[in-house]
Symmetry: C3
Subunit: 107 residues, 3 copies
């Protein structure tokens, strides 16, 4: 059994990851995945201080698969409102097809 | 030259990654990518023991680009059947457009 | 406000990541994300030398969200032309929906 779902990806500073994860849980998501990340954003602020060293991952890429498009937008809006005036971050949505969709239902 | 393909993403415990990769190769995939991951699943089991420490990545995110949707489902089904009763894991599919599609043909 | 965009994903050897990032910036992208990666490609070359050890991430997964499909193809073509005869790498495109699309406009 498969089912369409919306995945939200939030790439931001590791410093605020705990706060972002709190928002994700408050909004009712059943899980999330964190991946270490480095990079450069539109503000020209390099997370990787020295361009030659790409081993320093001071950002985090957070992925959440949601059961509803509404929850996805809700999380994205709350994170942007709370953090993105002061911290660098980007957020985007992707359509995915989940297997075992019952894991993503809200209880 | 580009071509549509299906990417499978399997996020699961690092402990079983070797077994999952064996299934992927048995099913005929030409390659895979591994990324370190942490997170929280629907069972409420945190891979990251202490919420404040997001550096502990005890999960793995495995991505496989397949030349056929059938192979994608085949891999996903085999991994779920063998492991997901006893280990936490999620699997989803994404549509991607591959460049140099000849690399993903089965030989 | 949301807007469709093309995300390019380049998975290649860490060794050439600086050169790949230079191409990405020359082509006008406003940012990129780097994630450590390991894996096995179609050439049968394992980045992870010992199969049992999935902790050795000698590849890098680079993601770029572009404001135009043309820029996405432009980056992919330039990277493949410069590196993929001699280094292992794959490139694919994904459609994403970006929030705050103004961050991805070219200045």
């Amino acid at each position: 059994m498969t089912s369409k779902a919306t995945k939200i990806v939030i790439i931001t500073e590791k410093l605020i990851s705990k706060g972002v994860l709190n928002i994700i849980e408050e909004k009712g998501a059943n899980g999330y995945t964190l991946v270490p990340a480095g990079g450069k954003g539109s503000r020209g602020v390099r997370s990787v201080d020295r361009p030659a060293v790409v081993d320093a991952f001071s950002n985090v890429k957070i992925e959440v698969i949601t059961g509803s498009d509404e929850m996805a937008h809700d999380i994205a809006d709350a994170v942007a409102a709370k953090y993105f005036a002061n911290y660098s971050g980007i957020t985007y949505l992707e359509e995915v097809e989940i297997l075992r969709p019952e894991k993503f239902e809200r209880h």
